[in-house]
Symmetry: C2
Subunit: 513 residues, 2 copies
């Protein structure tokens, strides 16, 4: 099919990074804002985020959480309290030092020296400590437990090298924080939220993931256990798409989160935290995008069906628009994937072909083009975004009757949702290697010039401390990292690829974002 | 009914400000965060905000807007460009000057002197200028117009005196920004969004408002016209609950928002902006709250019906919970106000009476208490929050059968929604005075020790410039402000109360938040 003229100029196979940037621009998802490291999320990108947010929020509420909102500013003293926390990630932060601007007399504005804050404030990089403070106020007895909270907010981490959606100084996320009576309840909840993330990634984003526990060196600072979902991008790299932490009593002790137990004595709570972010959109792009742009899974598509009337700026347009409107109404009356179908009749001025390629690049799941001839025949020209090209290298239009088109939309959307997942899962499964048992073989595998090495599932002895540092160093030389120990993997039955000792479990090794 | 023992200690009639604070605390809506001027919005308060947000967002989307997201930080130069803008309100702002914290060697953290920003960044007090920049990039020709955008975000304005929900340094809001080909289109849109705000306030929040145009002195800096919705609080003061601005080409010129018109020449767009915020929750409290706490209109209640089983920590509890669960499921199957009924079965440990009063203070519209005797009789004990007390000074429980209770919930919720609006509208209408025609009478009216003076609708000549300043000064001496010139008021037929000239329109005068 070399005669296809793809809608993008960059090819995934040639330059994955350039292709990624082009998709973001061509699908009109986001753009640089001019403010260092911050992006503008445009309507189609933000619409996808709103869909993800709503579906994720429904899942979070269904597991018993309430949403709250905590202050954007965090006092410095909160960070001082938690030296380990600061050591971990929170050094590069936006620091507010003044509360007033004044004119300097030369047409410029400057922070007013008279309005210097006594204690600087940090724009939240996470709300861990301030939510901990609130929990300490809110929890008195076992009757208040479990306390299940979640927050949707913007957070800021000053990043030196940024890439849109994947690593930006400002990003949008949800952070869940819960407090429990004991380790059992908290650990169960950590896994419950990991499962929420897995289900949202796989069922809503059609993005297959591996859920498992992070090794010690990849734990969130202060966590007892860190779990993640990891997705394979089309370049074979891993994307950590969500994490869930069991924090033991470490954070409870730092914030004084205590409760009176059933016997009347004071106990520290066991807490959890877990988060996902706009990074998920980066995952969707690198999972489902192709050389024609983005393909949005129907469950998270702001518009699942786009109707494009071939307007000619002539009186006949009116009848055509009326025809399209009855089709729109018929489709909007159907439900798919548990919700009313989201269908747009795009009346914007412009050539139909131009608009078609705009929607192809944006990745609307189904495009219906309707011209005068379609109307005469009582048909529509239907294009599936997930299977764009026919054998002859032309867009693969079907021509159902208007009635059949409307009636078949729900099943079609559900089929596209499934097909995108299946395609990604098959690619992922085909690119996991399980037969590497030595460091030499691992090195050879990743040294190979092949552009798509994928992941290796290896057996290891779960080293800790210095022995683990040694493993991490060895992998770093190959630009590799340990991802997670997958839940439900086959038991270990060999030797540790790193230490030669008896292996205790299997772990994924991969290059990663 | 003096024998009633109300659930709050403060009374509206005695100390409205203290009562307001007590409602916020007793209804568990929000609390001080410890960070100056920033509040923590707790689950019930945030749940109300989520409801307002969803209903408002649906209305904003139904009028053709897409949501976007713009950076939290705004470069200083954006403010320098707009001297007038800065003059107006944007001096007290949170200024970020550093991007790193380091230890000072004495266990403290300080902004790293090596990490000073070349240009300080401001935490957005509004995104007006940064959205203007984006519009200038996005708009090329008349085909791109109208451009209809909206953003939901947190914003920061450093406030010296704060009051929760009404005036906080950080608050949550939506800001809409649109660009049009000409004045006609932009002015129409300004009023369209004002109507969206009126409908949301009256239909969703059950809060009657007066929609009208602000006088010149109350215009948003740089606006050609500013319109508002004004609600009367129970202390007779006005609350500006939303504003919509027609900006002419002023902001388009400042940001370079131009388009090529149908004839091929470059034109400046006419723009609008409009916003509402978490202040609306303050309006809901002061419109619907009573001496027992908050009363949440069903349309914005996170839980519309709360079922309270009278658990006794005995084996019989199981049957009672099963009885309650079938009731919950029956109610949840119904729809009211266009959505599925939101019903909570509250299984939290605790005495039923304590929990009842918690939900009364929170203002859940309908409370269903169910004990062993109710179960035996096949009934439920139903309490309407909007009509809490019987003539005998006790809570006014009804005792319908379980089936009748479930079946009647939709109509009951709709009746409560209507009753809350009617009650507020009747109070508002009873407290508008239209017969004041002289400054002396106005002064006497507001000087009166009466605690509930309400608003005066007076006739005026629409003075401008120095004449208007003079009016504003006179009113200020009486702690009064001009609110707005109501749409659809009777035509003027008398003399201006301020200047004695022939009046041209009617305007509201009131004390205000």
């Amino acid at each position: 099919m070399s005669n296809i003229r793809h809608a993008l100029s960059a090819r995934r196979a040639d330059d994955f990074a350039a292709w990624y940037q082009e998709v973001i621009s061509a699908a009109d998802l986001a753009e640089e804002s001019g403010v260092r490291g911050c992006m503008v999320i445009k309507p189609w990108g933000y619409g996808i985020w709103e869909r993800i947010q709503r579906l994720m929020d429904d899942r979070i509420k269904a597991t018993g959480h309430d949403n709250c909102y905590f202050p954007i500013f965090i006092p410095l003293s909160n960070f001082e309290r938690e030296a380990e926390h600061v050591e971990g990630f929170a050094k590069e932060m936006a620091v507010v030092t003044h509360h007033r601007l004044i004119a300097d007399g030369n047409g410029k504005l400057i922070p007013d020296p008279e309005a210097k804050l006594e204690e600087p404030l940090v724009v939240r990089p996470t709300s861990e400590t301030i939510i901990g403070d609130a929990m300490a106020r809110w929890i008195q007895s076992w009757r208040d437990l479990p306390l299940l909270t979640n927050q949707w907010a913007d957070v800021v981490r000053w990043e030196m090298r940024t890439r849109m959606f994947l690593r930006t100084s400002e990003f949008l996320w949800q952070e869940g924080h819960t407090a429990h009576e004991d380790a059992t309840g908290a650990k169960e909840h950590t896994l419950r939220m990991l499962e929420v993330y897995r289900a949202c990634a796989e069922e809503d984003l059609a993005m297959p993931v591996i859920a498992g526990e992070k090794p010690e060196n990849e734990r969130f600072p202060g966590a007892v256990e860190t779990w993640s979902i990891e997705a394979m991008m089309q370049d074979g790299k891993a994307l950590q798409a969500g994490t869930s932490h069991y924090l033991g009593t470490n954070f409870a002790k730092a914030s004084g989160i205590q409760y009176q137990d059933r016997e009347g004595s004071q106990q520290y709570c066991h807490t959890t935290s877990w988060g996902t972010s706009t990074r998920l959109i980066g995952g969707v792009i690198m999972t489902h995008g192709d050389d024609d742009g983005l393909r949005v899974p129907p469950a998270i598509a702001p518009h699942q069906v786009v109707i494009l009337p071939m307007l000619r700026d002539k009186p006949e347009d009116e009848a055509l628009l009326a025809y399209c409107e009855t089709l729109r109404a018929a489709i909007a009356g159907h439900s798919a994937l548990g919700e009313k179908v989201r269908v747009l009749l795009d009346k914007k001025p412009g050539k139909a072909a131009t608009k078609r390629w705009d929607w192809v690049r944006k990745g609307a799941p189904v495009i219906l083009e309707i011209g005068g001839r379609d109307m005469e025949n009582g048909t529509v020209s239907l294009l599936r975004r997930d299977r764009l090209w026919a054998e002859n290298g032309k867009p693969d239009f079907a021509a159902p009757t208007k009635e059949d088109a409307a009636a078949s939309i729900p099943a079609l959307l559900e089929e596209i949702q499934r097909a995108l997942f299946d395609e990604a899962a098959a690619r992922r499964d085909a690119n996991i290697t399980r037969d590497i048992t030595t460091m030499e073989a691992l090195s050879a595998f990743y040294d190979d010039a092949a552009k798509y090495p994928g992941w290796a599932e290896v057996q290891w002895s779960r080293p800790t401390g210095a022995a683990l540092d040694n493993v991490v160093e060895k992998l770093k030389a190959l630009k590799l990292t340990v991802r997670n120990v997958p839940i439900g993997a086959a038991p270990a039955d060999g030797a540790c690829i790193f230490t030669g000792e008896a292996a205790v479990e299997r772990i994924y090794v991969a290059r990663a974002y």
